[in-house]
Symmetry: C2
Subunit: 239 residues, 2 copies
Amino acid sequence: MSARARERFDLSNETATAPAVTPAAQRVQKPQRKTLERREAVLKAALSVFGARGYNNGALAEIAAQAGMTHAGVLHHFGSKEALLIAVLQYRDGEEVAGIARREQPTGKAFLGHLLDTVRENTTRPGVVQAYAVLSAESVTDGHPAQEYFRGRLTGLREKLIGVINEATDFVADQQEVHETASALIAVMDGLQVQWLLDPAAVDMPRTVELVLEELVGRLMAGRRDIVVPIGPSSDATP
Amino acid sequence: MSARARERFDLSNETATAPAVTPAAQRVQKPQRKTLERREAVLKAALSVFGARGYNNGALAEIAAQAGMTHAGVLHHFGSKEALLIAVLQYRDGEEVAGIARREQPTGKAFLGHLLDTVRENTTRPGVVQAYAVLSAESVTDGHPAQEYFRGRLTGLREKLIGVINEATDFVADQQEVHETASALIAVMDGLQVQWLLDPAAVDMPRTVELVLEELVGRLMAGRRDIVVPIGPSSDATP
DNA sequence: GAACACTTACTTACTGGTTAGTAAGTGTGT
DNA sequence: ACACACTTACTAACCAGTAAGTAAGTGTTC
């Protein structure tokens, strides 16, 4: 908590901008291939350690050891533990599909299929799932450095889903219902992860998500739920 | 991590059973009313601190201060931080409804209504929700003391829900589907909590849970999966 | 192509701070 | 007088971050 205490009381930010303290990842003009590989090794180690122990309880020394250096070496590259965390989160965002070639995010109904594919894929990578589940929940603790990241991520996903659902619906659906459907979909995927991590045999993540997708979105798309709102002034829906 | 390291390497369990180390909560024959009140104060403080900071990052000293004593006093009552954690979880189970009189868990369809009521109630108690969300996800980390507790809790809830759904269904539904519906319901409730904690205005927990309940369970109860059966405007899951 | 200036990627060693748990004692109510 | 509820004082361990140094480059100039 020394870092947190300092963050609260130390308003002088000058030291952070002084050249000597700036991490190598931002200071260096042209990083060599080997350097980038070492950096990626650190990120992979951090993802594994943060997943296995959480952010607060995950030690830089363990990450460093897994990457084959000392914890001071890790700090040389990333500047601080906090900076390493958000680097890890961004790395996971961009790279998580790396094994199966970088695919672009589809739009429209295809996005829902993409979501299901991701869930299926996650079954293969418990480490990544663990990191996401642990860190996202830990982020709701007071002053957690990943709070803004996860808030933004959830808001973005929700908006994306709302758009996709509206796009896939021929008529203008009740927007509150669409919003709730989007929230529920995200919640199911996230909530299932914890259940699955605690007892992998007890839940079938892909099938369960598929069921919810069919029931919730399928029904919305089919057009009914007691009250069908006809045509409205919304510009979002496909004409 | 000192506790964890010891747990791993120190196989001698004798000290834990030696009389001098046994916590007062198990040693004392007839605890006085005042003692029990102090003990409850510690539990309430622990719930708040573990919720705000997580288990690993929550300090006994802070819990103690909130309960008006020193951290050694807390250890006098509960023996260890780990023991305090599971005492807190059990306390939350038994007491979380304390404000509104101890009500028994209903069976059958009424249980679904009870679930919704709990969600509604949770909106009022962000601290408890935070503690549950943070601790349940933290429990999936390696060797976490609350792992067994949460695994058992989720398994129990799932079984209970499967029973309730089957009870509420006139015919024999596809059991895999029932199982997935139960998992999905739990996942929605848990997943929504993180979204809500990060951005309370962005999600309507009760309404979203209600929507999922109606769509998923309502449909199952109505009997089919291809044919759309409209559900009445009744917002209560109880028939 | 060799000498020189400079950068980068680390390491070792240390600091200041925090933490769970222990031991020994003190006061208080019964 | 005794059990109990604490406190004070301490310990051993851990941890993020800093400082200072070193070895291996890289680029530039002649």
